[in-house]
Symmetry: C2
Subunit: 420 residues, 2 copies
C-alpha cells in the first residue's frame, strides 16, 4: 500500500476561502488519502495572539476536511521563519507525511530547488554578505534579502523572489526538508489573493487574505460583509465570538504587557527569550508613556528590529518565556511530542495504524505527559484563555490541561462527544 | 531652645475625624512646635492598596495640620508589625522627633512599659512558648498572643491586651524605641471609635474607623453619608475620586495578580519576598479557578496564614518584590533615606534648619537619588498609578520620579506651586 499523506502548515487565523481553494486544488492534483495539518496554537508567527483560540480554529480545519490537526509548539509557532519551518516540518516528518503542500506567490516548485542550490553552493559568500549587511544595522530579513539579491542577480537560473512572504516561508520549508534529509515531496499552490500583506479589501472578491479579514473585523465592523469570503462554519464561529466579548488582538492584552514591563527589572527582562543587545532598556524607557500596543511598538521600532520581531519579543515577555526554556529546543528544531488538537474518523484510524511506530509521544490528554516544551504551550494557552476572556462565560472551555482532542465525524458532518 | 517635635505613624486610608481628634488632643496636651508624620505609600500594612494615592493622602494630612509627611518605604510599609514599626521609628528618630504619639485601645502609656519589661525579663520562656505554638501550625499573631498570655497571666502588674490591633502596633513602637535606645518619648491617645476592625457603621457618630469608611465606600455607596465623619477636604477628595474611575481596592488589581501567577513558574515565585514553606504551590493550585481576590485568598487561607499575611504576600507578588531586594533592609530595620512627600511652611523651615545634620539623604526629587530600596518604592508607585488608572486622565499625576513634594501654606490654607 503506498498512501499519499499530504501535510499542510497553517495558522488559520482565520480559515478562509483561500485555504479552501488550496485544499481543493490539493485534492484534485495529488488525490491524497489523508490531509494533516500542523497548526500554530494561540500565538502566531508574526507575534500576535490568534483571533480565536486554537480549539476554535481546529474545528474550522476539521470542518474544512483536514483529517488531523497537530499543534506546532509555542517555541516554533512564535519563532523566526526558519525556526517555525524546522519545527513544523519535523512534525509532518514524524507523522509520515509523504508530501508537503504550501501556498506561494510564485506557484511553481522548481525555482525553489534552484534557489536552494544557489544558496547552498555559495554559502560562504552568502554568509559574508549577510554579516556585512547586519553590521550596518539593518534587520535580518533585509540583510538576507540583500545577500540573496547579490547572489541571484549574478547567476543563471529561475529563482524565487524571497521578499514575498509566502515564497520566503516556502523556501524555509524546502530548506528544512533538505536539512533533515526527509523524503517528503514539496508541492506549491499559487496563492489566489493579492498578497498576504494586502490590507485593502475588495467586497465582491470571494478570496481575501487572512490579514485583510482580521483588519476588517478588528476595525469593529460587522462580520456580515465577510460571508462570501469565509466558509459558513467559520463565519458563524467568528460572528458568535464577535458577539460575546470580542475577537482577540494585541490591544486586548496590552495592559498586561505594560504591567509586566513596569513590574520587571532590566535584569529580569534580559532573561526573556529573544531579548538581545540590551533592547530591554529600550522597552523599559518607552513603556511608561505608551497607551496602546501599536503605539508602544512604533515607539520602540528601529531600522534593525522589524515589527514582527518586536511583536514576537512582546509575546515572549507576556508569556514569560525564558532563554533557558526556549533557546535549546528552538535551535534543535525537532519537536519532541505530537500534540493532537483534533481528528476526523479517517485521521483517527490513521493514528491508530501508525501509533506504534511513532518515535515521539502522541499527546491526546495533557495530564499524562510532562515535557518542558509542553509546559510553555500550556502556559501560553492558559494566559490566552484568561486574558482573552475565554476562561469566563459565556464562552467557557474546559481548562487546557484537561481538554480532549476535538473529534469530527466527516461522514455526517458532526462533532463527536464532549469535544463538540 | 528645647522644641517639642511630635511624630505620628499613619496610613491615613483615608484621613478621618478620628485622626483629627488625635491631632487636636496631641496639640492640647503636648503643645508641639511641629508635627511630623511617617506615612505609608500606596500599599499598606495589611497588604492592601490604598483607596487613593499617597499624594492625595499627603494633601489630606497637610490640610489637617501635619507639617511634614515622609514616606515609609515599601519594604516597611508592607511589612509585619515589627518590621513596620522599626522602619517608621527609625525615620522619626532621624528627623529629630522628641515624641511619638500613637492611638491605642488602652489609652495609657504605663502598661506598655510594664509589658515590655515583662517580655524582656522572660525572653527565653516567651520564645520557647512561641516556638512550640508555631510548631502546632498556628499563625504568628496567635502564637505571640498565646506566649504573651502565658507570661502575663502569671505575673503581677498592669499589662496591655495585645490582641487589640492598635495596642499591638503601639507595643511594637515602644519596643523599637527601646531597641534603638532612642530618647523619643512615647505618648498614647485613647482611640475614640469602637475598634479599628469594626465593620458596623453608625450613621450619626462623627467618628468611624478607617476600615468601616472603606467598606462603606467600596460597597459602591455614595460618599454623601460620610460627610459628618470626614474633614471637608477629605470628603471632597474621595467624592471626586469616586466620581472619576473609582476608589482603588484589591479587586481592581486582581486580574493582574492572576496574570502574574499564571505566567510564573513555582521556581520564579519562590524568589518573591515572604514566599515561605512552599506556599507558592498552593497559590498556583488555587489561582486558576479564582475569579475574585477575596475568593482567591479564602481558597488559599489556612490556620497558619493570616488573611493579612496572604494579602501582603499578594502585594509582593504583584509588585515583583524579591527576597534578594527586601529581606536584608527589612531585617536591618533602618531607613536609608527620607523621602519627602509634603510639607507646610513651618515644616519647610524645620527641614532647612536640620538638613545639614541629617545622617541620611533627604529626597525631594527622585531623579537625583538612587537606592535599591527606593527602586522598590518607585516600582510600587508606578504600578499603583497604572493599575488604579491614576496614570490616565482625568486624574493625571506627573510620574513618580519627577513628582515634587507637595507644599502647603498653612497660613492661608493653600497649596503652593505645581504640587497644588
Amino acid at each position: 500500500m503506498h498512501m499519499h499523506i499530504a501535510g499542510i502548515i497553517a495558522e488559520y487565523n482565520p480559515f478562509h476561502n483561500g485555504h479552501l481553494y488550496q485544499l481543493n486544488t490539493l485534492r484534485q492534483t495529488l488525490r491524497p488519502d489523508l490531509i494533516l495539518s500542523v497548526m500554530s496554537g494561540d500565538f502566531l508567527q508574526r507575534g500576535e495572539p490568534a483571533l480565536v483560540s486554537k480549539w476554535e480554529r481546529t474545528r474550522m480545519a476539521l470542518q474544512a476536511g483536514i483529517d488531523l490537526v497537530i499543534e506546532l509548539p509555542y517555541v516554533f509557532a512564535v519563532g523566526k521563519a526558519d525556526v517555525f519551518a524546522r519545527g513544523a516540518v519535523s512534525i509532518l516528518d514524524r507523522l509520515g507525511a509523504t508530501h508537503l503542500a504550501f501556498g506561494s506567490e510564485i506557484g511553481r516548485i522548481e525555482p525553489f530547488f534552484q534557489t536552494l542550490s544557489l544558496i547552498e553552493n555559495n554559502k560562504a559568500r552568502y554568509d559574508q554578505t549577510l554579516k556585512e549587511a547586519l553590521h550596518e544595522g539593518i534587520s535580518y530579513p533585509n540583510a538576507h534579502a540583500a545577500a540573496y539579491r547579490l547572489l541571484s542577480s549574478a547567476a543563471a537560473g529561475e529563482f524565487v523572489d524571497l521578499t514575498q512572504p509566502n515564497n520566503s516561508l516556502g523556501f524555509h520549508y524546502i530548506e528544512a526538508i533538505h536539512d533533515r534529509k526527509s523524503s517528503m515531496i514539496p508541492l506549491t499552490i499559487r496563492r489566489q489573493e493579492s498578497g498576504h500583506s494586502d490590507r485593502t479589501f475588495a467586497n465582491d472578491a470571494p478570496i481575501a487574505s487572512a490579514r485583510s479579514i482580521r483588519s476588517y473585523l478588528l476595525g469593529g465592523r460587522s462580520p456580515a460583509n465577510l460571508q462570501n469570503k469565509l466558509p459558513p462554519y467559520v463565519y458563524s464561529s467568528l460572528e458568535r465570538r464577535n458577539r460575546f466579548g470580542g475577537l482577540t488582538e494585541w490591544e486586548t492584552f496590552f495592559p498586561f504587557l505594560k504591567y509586566k514591563l513596569l513590574s520587571s527589572t532590566a535584569e529580569q527582562l534580559s532573561l526573556i527569550y529573544e531579548m538581545e543587545e540590551g533592547i530591554e532598556h529600550r522597552l523599559l524607557s518607552r513603556i511608561g508613556s505608551a497607551d496602546s500596543f501599536n503605539g508602544f511598538i512604533a515607539a520602540v521600532k528601529t531600522k534593525r528590529y522589524t515589527w514582527a520581531r518586536l511583536q514576537r519579543l512582546s509575546v515572549h515577555v507576556l508569556t514569560n518565556t525564558l532563554k533557558s526554556e526556549a533557546r535549546q529546543p528552538a535551535a534543535a528544531g525537532e519537536v519532541p511530542y505530537l500534540r493532537l488538537l483534533g481528528m476526523s474518523r479517517k485521521g483517527q484510524n490513521y493514528l491508530a495504524a501508525i501509533r506504534k511506530d511513532l518515535q515521539v509521544p502522541l499527546i491526546a490528554k495533557i495530564r499524562k505527559h510532562r515535557d518542558p516544551l509542553l509546559d510553555l504551550d500550556i502556559r501560553a494557552a492558559k494566559l490566552y484563555d484568561f486574558l482573552s476572556g475565554n476562561g469566563q462565560p459565556p464562552l467557557s472551555y474546559s481548562s487546557e490541561t484537561s481538554h480532549a482532542p476535538i473529534r469530527y465525524d466527516e461522514k455526517n458532518g458532526r462533532f463527536i462527544g464532549a469535544g463538540g
